[in-house]
Amino acid sequence: MASAKDATAPNESLANDDIGLDRRLELFRLQVEIRDCEKRAFDLFLQNLIKGTSHLSIGQEAVAAGFGVAMRKGDKSFCTYRGHAHTLARGASMEGMLGELMLRDIGLMRGKGGSMHLTSVEHGVLGSYAIIGAHLPIACGSAWRAQYLGEKDVSVCFFGDGTTNIGAFHEALNFAAVWKLPVVFVCENNLYMEYTPISEVTAVKHPAADRAAAYGLERIVVDGNDADVVYRIALAALEMARNGGGPSLIECLTYRHSGHSRADPAKYRPPGELEEWLKRDPVVIYRERLREFGVKQETIDAVEAESKRKVEAATEACKASPQAPVELLTADVYADGGWAWRN
């Protein structure tokens, strides 16, 4: 594994700053692995090995990685159907994630939930939610539990710009603010809901940040494509929550490279917009930053090679995996493992 020892930093103060090289390598590794894994998901979908639908996070890796590194083990995350990146960023395996997308037995939920409901309790991923806004109050509940039991974990809730216009968003923010809950709300503003630009349907410019004041919260907008920026704001928000300071609402500006879902070629984007944002590709930005810090090319290459190797291994493992046994059809409707509604 690469470490700070491998780097020769021309600028010592940069290398020894608040983030540090070790953590930066971790941030880089996560973004690269998320990117590679999501691209593989794209291909598998074309090969019809991934069925149904899939909402990719290509271009939005920095938000997931920044928070993933900032969060502690024990912190709880809740995300939307665009949750592959967030699931990987908390440490779930590629074959668990890809396997779930491929609806195989090796998947995180053995194919029971599918792409939109990725869950890995051991990594703190307490569900991915397909109904817009549903998980915001749920994150509040998790935070309420921490507050009630005096536990020190923070609940982090990821959602898109479209969520800011649904009722549950407003209920959850008010609720969290009034009860001063240890929850962090993270809005990934990628400028589009499904096919409609968010600006056309929202009364304010920044769909999340411009609503914060309504709930007595600070207005926070950050560059969501810079993992260092995300990491820093994440750490601050987590610490505030952990110390009883209450909730925050963070708007991360980012962009998705592909359509809303695999079915969407995203022709609604104005010409040139994608190209502009590709210049702000978070992986490209971060690779450059590592070089600026003097991290050797071999080190960078090793991370990227390892990522590709892991993706290959995961793909093979998933392809080799059977689908779940048919008994799972009626398993786990109720706590007893079954589905009996009558005697």
Binding site: I106, H123, S321, P325
Partner: protein, 427 residues
């Protein structure tokens, strides 16, 4: 380099294997050829060796869990960080044994006749079931109901019809193995014959008796020539006087009662660990209801009756049985039973005892057979009327010697009794 360990193919028809044990743990260095895990299939239990070397980085299928052939069970040389949870038990199999997902509600499979009577009167589902179970004449009932001006045959109408019967053909209290059913036309290949409730209950009782009573069967060959001589000589008179035919059965019944008086344990019933001998003989006689089942109505105080008396009593009960007019009294209280199977020419039948009785007699066809007759002049072959009489007995009540002695006595009575004395002397 990462290698996956898969569940190997362990036999042509084997599709999956259960992991019984892991011999290595995560983090162990594996050499080629090391025993990795033990797997059980429905044919064999074997150990699986490693075919590559490296560090065991992941176990996907834990002890007790099952994997299909070809499924990845472990990884060598892979990433050591936490992966998807290891499956350690077939939880899914436990989950849905309650019902099939497509059988949440159990539709009954029995059918109980048409929803309309022959005259078009509607019949409720419950009424249809009761009509079938009690063998009620649906045409007559529907006609009666229509005549009364009612619009449907319901439970009340059925109960009323049942009440009007002189006696209820309740389920038989004596259960005997049903004779083979000679069908007019054999049922088509694979036809499904539903058993009605009567048959089902009878079957349950049969099974229970067979299961709980240690049956032993003994048979003895009886020479019915003398009986037959008397029978033939009295036959015409008997028919003229009583209106029905004189068969071997009343003679056998008479002989049985006489033999029982010498061997009273035959005529007993169990009560816990004691055998209660019955003073009276209430003789059950198996009656074939035209191949629609068997009942065994009881002739009470059979020991007091002569052969003629027995003939008449047996006849009365048989007629009642065939008309469906047996009462509960008719079917209960038997202390011993005779199963008369001769009508179709069979040689031997081993009947099932009807608890709480401890024995049951079987008789089969009586016909001319070559036999050795001993005379003072010597032994000669002669055609004689021969039939086999057998007894299934409860070995807890008495043993073979006793039963054999009883049968021997019965044979003696049948072969040597002056049967003419059973009949009125004046002709």
């Amino acid at each position: 380099m990462t290698s996956t360990i898969i569940m190997p193919q362990l036999g042509e028809t084997v599709a999956e294997g259960k992991v019984l044990a892991w011999f290595k743990s995560i983090g162990d260095e594996i050499r080629e050829g090391d025993n990795l895990f033990e797997v059980e299939t429905d044919k064999v239990t074997i150990e699986v060796q490693a075919v590559v070397a490296g560090r065991l980085s992941e176990i996907r299928v834990g002890v007790g869990a099952t994997a299909k052939v070809g499924e990845v069970v472990a990884v060598i040389g892979g990433d050591m960080t936490a992966k998807a949870p290891v499956r350690t038990e077939a939880r899914a199999a436990r989950a849905s044994q309650w019902r099939s997902p497509f059988e949440e509600v159990s539709t009954p499979t029995e059918k109980f006749g048409s929803s309309k009577g022959p005259n078009g009167v509607r019949i409720t589902p419950l009424a249809r079931r009761l009509i079938s179970e009690h063998g009620i004449d649906v045409a007559r009932l529907s006609a009666d109901v229509a005549r009364r001006g009612a619009t449907k045959v319901d439970e009340a109408a059925v109960r009323a019809a049942l009440a009007e019967r002189p006696s209820e053909p309740a389920t038989p209290s004596v259960v005997i193995a049903p004779p083979p059913k000679p069908a007019d036309s054999p049922p088509p290949e694979g036809a499904v014959i539903s058993l009605n409730a009567v048959r089902l209950r009878t079957g349950e009782r049969l099974a229970e008796n067979w299961r709980t009573i240690p049956h032993v069967f003994q048979a003895i060959e009886v020479d019915f020539t003398r009986v037959d001589r008397v029978r033939k000589s009295r036959k015409a008179d008997f028919q003229a006087t009583h209106g029905f035919s004189l068969t071997f059965l009343p003679f056998i019944a008479r002989a049985t009662c006489l033999a029982i008086s010498a061997y009273p344990q035959i005529n007993a019933r169990f009560s816990g660990a004691t055998l209660i001998l019955s003073r009276d003989i209430h003789l059950g006689i198996a009656v074939d209801l035209n191949h629609n089942g068997l009942v065994a109505p009881v002739v009470r105080e059979a020991g007091e009756l002569t052969a003629i008396g027995l003939a008449k009593a047996i006849r009365r009960q048989t007629e009642k049985a065939k008309a469906g007019k047996l009462s509960a009294d008719d079917l209960s209280g038997g202390t011993y039973t005779i199963s008369n199977n001769g009508a179709f020419g069979t040689t031997l039948t081993t009947p099932i005892i009807n608890a709480p009785q401890v024995g049951i007699l079987s008789t089969d066809a009586i016909g001319l057979k070559p036999a050795v007759v001993s005379t003072p002049e010597g032994d000669f072959l002669a055609p004689r009327m021969i039939g086999i009489v057998g007894q299934s007995f409860d070995h807890r009540a008495f043993d073979g010697a006793y039963s054999a002695a009883f049968l021997s006595r019965l044979k003696l009575i049948l072969e040597t009794r002056n049967w003419d004395e059973e009949f009125p002397s004046d002709r």
